[in-house]
Amino acid sequence: MKTITVTVNGVAYEETVPERMLLVDFLREQLVLTGTHVGCTYEGVCGACTIHLDGEAVKSCLMLAVQADGHSITTIEGLAADELTPLQQAFIDNHGLQCGFCTAGVLMNMSEFLEKNPNPSDDDIRHGLIGNLCRCTGYVHIVKAVRAAAAVGQ
């Protein structure tokens, strides 16, 4: 067991975890932040567990919790302050989600993507979405939502 200090959504936590615990399981089971999803069997292929690690989108099933020691994490629960972000609102307005299972990961990836690419083409958006699987809407509405968010400055 190892004691780690992480800041998650602005809150500092000191927690003791087994060395082999995955970061996604730490977030979901130990901190009970269940908005970060597990869509594949932890194989790192679906992107539903995407979070921000020090502001960058990474898959939390491809990291151990101990690797996050000393780092700052944002999960879907911490994306919006009081009101939804323009990106979140754009997903509602453009039917960017259906079952919603992949949405948390898509939003965490695309929020960082838009910071780096404020004026993306549709091709840029689609290329940016490769690491996120959606199995119900298809991607047309997701791309449309991201484009709409870019138009209003995220």
Partner: protein, 291 residues
């Protein structure tokens, strides 16, 4: 898909500390962890069951891209995203950006590293092939000292490299290229940016008249992993690099490889990919060498 028990986790902050930490562990029970985008998969599937993980994330001295007098050094812990977004890596070094910008997806590129990919040396992977095509030299450090191993000797087949237990890949160095040099890498996979069914890297230097004075061609997606194609290189060297020469060189490459049939593609299709994708890559490398 959950890791086996891990007894110890270390996070050294220097090469010296990393080497001394891993030296305390039993051979084969401790691993260096770079970005972990391949290794964590293997750890979760229990193909790897390390007793001890030595995480290199805080070893800042092996991270970063440095260029001086035309030569290039890339720290082993440099991430794909940092290579992909480095505008100075053009012309002779453009194959590195071609490869790094299409590895996996942006989440993977935000964390995966060139050194991790090279030390893992998966049978079908982009960075080893680009480094081999560019003739990189791997700088290895251990408690016994330092040594430099050319990429040709470093990559020894799938999941096998010249790196020994307790040895750390610190950087990859590329000599200053000749004046008119260009490189390119492209892959074809089952879905966009997936693992290469076939990947091709071409690296050429031309004289003022457009004649090829030096060339390296490397391939991936074949049973032996990243490898050079001497038949393509022989066909290109001293040629005028006109399109029909490029095509016939890549035809020669396709005719002389040991290709396999599997769920992704037949051996014939792999050879066809080497012909067509290879000719496009060679043309792009030649075009870059001329600019």
């Amino acid at each position: 898909m959950f890791p086996a028990r891990i007894r110890e986790y270390h996070r050294p902050s220097s090469i010296a500390e990393a080497l001394s930490v891993i030296a305390r562990e039993n051979v084969g029970e401790a691993i260096f962890l770079a970005g972990g985008q391949s290794a964590m998969q293997a750890i979760k599937s229990r193909m790897l069951q390390p007793d001890c993980i030595v995480d290199l994330q805080a070893v800042d001295e092996i991270r970063g891209i440095r260029q001086a007098d035309g030569a290039l050094e890339i720290g082993a812990m440099t991430r794909y995203v940092d290579i992909a977004e480095n505008g100075a890596l053009d012309g002779p070094f453009a194959a590195l950006r071609d490869a790094a910008s299409r590895v996996g997806d942006r989440q993977v590129r935000n964390r995966g590293t060139i050194g991790g990919s090279m030390c893992w040396n998966y049978v079908a992977s982009c960075m080893p092939t680009a480094v081999l095509g560019l003739g990189g030299v791997c700088h290895l450090v251990s408690l016994k000292g330092e040594r430099s191993v050319p990429a040709d000797d470093f990559f020894q087949g799938p999941l096998t490299t010249a790196r020994e237990d307790g040895e750390l890949l610190s950087a990859i160095r590329f000599a200053a290229p000749a004046k008119r040099s260009g490189s390119a890498y492209r892959k074809w996979g089952l879905v966009t940016d997936s693992l290469p069914v076939v990947g091709v890297c071409v690296n050429v230097s031309l004289d003022g008249g457009g004649r090829c004075t030096a060339v390296r061609v490397s391939l991936t997606g074949l049973p032996d992993g990243a490898q050079r194609s001497t038949s393509a290189e022989e066909a290109l060297l001293n040629s005028n690099c006109e399109p029909e020469v490029l095509r016939s060189a890549m035809n020669a490459a396709a005719d002389n490889v040991d290709a396999q049939s599997d769920d992704s593609a037949s051996a014939d299709y792999r050879r066809q990919l080497i012909r067509t994708l290879g000719a496009e890559v060679a043309q792009l490398a030649v075009d870059r060498a001329k600019h």
